[in-house]
């Protein structure tokens, strides 16, 4: 899956990101929302809260309850997916929640909940990372106070080469995938998974490459937030849809 020129199935260089497009504030009902396209991934995130917790007995006395639901639309994948949450979706909801939690000042909102909803409209590999990136934007859009943004990107190994931001085929057919979420100003990693087969050294390279990718995507995040606040509102609304 790497050709003679060292290029990948979609023509990218090993350390090249896919095309990324982000928009903040795309849904009117949510307290915060954002949309991302990364390759063919198309993902929406919405944040509701801080708000009253339902059911009430889940409320925490000293901080907000953070909840996250990662969910895929039935039409987001090749074969239609049942709308009921799969075990994979439940696991990803957990790791994304844990990726975002260290960045949020939950202690400022005791007895409330902050609910993050991520909807994958089209999946093309790396949805947990793109979902984390877009959820962080929705949190910022909701005005939730944060220590840092969170940005996520995977690296991995394909045909023996360490590559950045694997697409669907690379993810499935490649040798390894290392999704990473990063808090760029704190320099901390809040999501890390891996599956496949890597030596420690290859893993080290992948981790570093993923962090590089995160830093690049972080620039897009900042631009998208700027666009939301600086650009003239009407213009924004026109180009959003």
């Amino acid at each position: 899956m790497i050709n003679e020129n060292g290029l990948r199935v979609d023509g990218r260089k090993p350390n090249e990101l896919r095309l990324i497009k982000m928009e903040v504030g795309v849904l009117s009902n949510a307290d915060g929302s954002a949309y991302i396209e990364q390759g063919k991934n198309k993902i929406l995130a919405a944040v509701y809260g801080p708000r009253e917790v339902h059911p009430r007995h889940l409320a925490l006395p000293d901080r907000a309850l953070l909840r996250c639901r990662y969910h895929m639309a039935p039409f987001s994948v090749e074969e239609r997916k049942s709308p009921a949450p799969s075990r994979r979706e439940i696991e990803l909801s957990k790791v994304i929640k844990e990726a975002l939690e260290p960045a949020i000042f939950l202690e400022k909102f005791p007895r409330t909940s902050i609910d993050i909803f991520i909807e994958v409209l089209q999946a093309d590999g790396g949805t947990r990372c793109a979902g984390t990136t877009v959820a962080a934007l929705a949190l910022a859009d909701a005005g939730v106070p944060m220590r840092d943004l969170v940005v996520a990107c995977a690296a991995g190994k394909v045909d023996g080469v360490i590559v950045l931001d694997l697409n669907d085929i690379e993810d499935k057919e490649g040798e390894a995938d290392v999704p990473v979420a990063y808090m760029p100003n704190l320099g901390l990693i809040s999501l890390l998974q891996m599956d496949g087969s890597l030596t420690i050294e290859e893993f080290n390279q992948s981790l570093n490459l993923a962090m590089d990718g995160c830093k690049q995507i972080y620039k897009f995040q900042k631009e998208a937030l700027k666009a939301r606040y600086v650009t003239i509102k009407e213009e924004v609304e026109e180009c959003l849809r």
Binding site: L27, S28, N29, A30, S33, K40, K42, L44, A45, A46, Y48, R51, R69, H71, A73, P74, F75, S76, V77, E78, E79, R80, P83, P85, D115, F117, E119, L121, Q122, A123, D124, R241
Partner: protein, 265 residues
């Protein structure tokens, strides 16, 4: 002041305006909000669309698979309509099994398509009694600002018109997928129009706050030949018979307008 009190006052305000022939958002009683229809937005789906109806936003994806026909219809393809009120669309929506509103929505859209015979199911048979096309129409509500039924049925029609199905060949009783695609065979174009009864007047395309102020809702689906294929009354109030007939005439006219928006797409 509690939010219930606020919403009561707001409902009264809306009702008074409608009583005098006006609407809070400046529309005439028979005006739809601005409508935008896009198709082909989900490349991995065989068909897809997005409809914006004011701030109401709905995406429909169509997936095509191979499956078994119903026992009593061995020569026909199968379709199902499913609807998800995902919690990002509204603070009122909850994760979990579909709510009764979500089920009602899917079934009203389904009836419009089914009763108008919009999809030519007989052309979706591959091996009679054994293998047919199965069409999944998934309605995904992304932002709820009222009148989900019209937005969804419009989006469903747009997505069906956008759908390409893979061509299959039968070789020695085995079904083989080819690389060719043909458009989903569509025979009819059902379009639903919803009216709300507020202050004993009918308003077209109620938005969220009007839905809270209305006593009842009436959805009428017309096919391309101006025949009614489906009706659904909703809401906890009642309607006069003459209001119903008035609604039918308004809906017929509006349905034609909406249909042009989708077919031209």
């Amino acid at each position: 002041m509690s939010s219930i009190m606020v919403s009561r006052i707001r409902q009264k305000q809306i009702a008074q305006m409608v009583a005098s022939g006006k609407r809070l958002d400046g529309r005439g009683l028979k005006d739809y909000r601005p409508i935008k229809v896009e198709t082909g937005i989900i490349e991995k789906a065989e068909g897809s669309s997005r409809v914006l109806l004011g701030k109401t936003e709905v995406v429909v994806g169509v997936k095509v698979e191979i499956g078994d026909p119903f026992l009593d219809r061995p020569n026909e393809g199968v379709f199902t309509v499913n609807s998800e009120f995902v919690p990002l669309a509204s603070p009122e929506f909850e994760a979990g099994p579909p709510s009764e509103e979500s089920i009602e929505l899917a079934r009203v859209v389904d009836r419009g398509i089914r009763e108008s015979k919009a999809i030519d199911l007989e052309k979706l048979c591959i091996i009679p009694g054994k293998k047919v096309y199965v069409i999944f129409i998934d309605i995904y509500v992304l932002n709820h600002d009222g009148n989900l039924i019209d937005a969804s049925s419009l989006a469903a029609l747009a997505a069906l018109l956008n759908t390409k199905i893979p061509v299959y060949v039968v070789e020695e009783n085995e079904v083989k997928k080819t690389n060719d695609y043909i458009p989903l065979p569509i025979k009819n174009l059902p379009v639903s129009v919803t009216l709300a009864n507020i202050s004993d007047k009918l308003v077209v395309d109620p938005w969220l706050e009007e839905e809270e102020a209305m006593s009842a809702r009436l959805t009428i689906t017309f096919d391309k030949d101006n025949k009614i294929s489906a009706i659904q009354k909703g809401g906890t109030g009642a309607l006069k018979p003459q209001q119903i007939m008035e609604a039918a005439h308004i809906a017929k006219e509006k349905a034609e307008e909406l249909r042009k928006m989708v077919v031209k797409t």
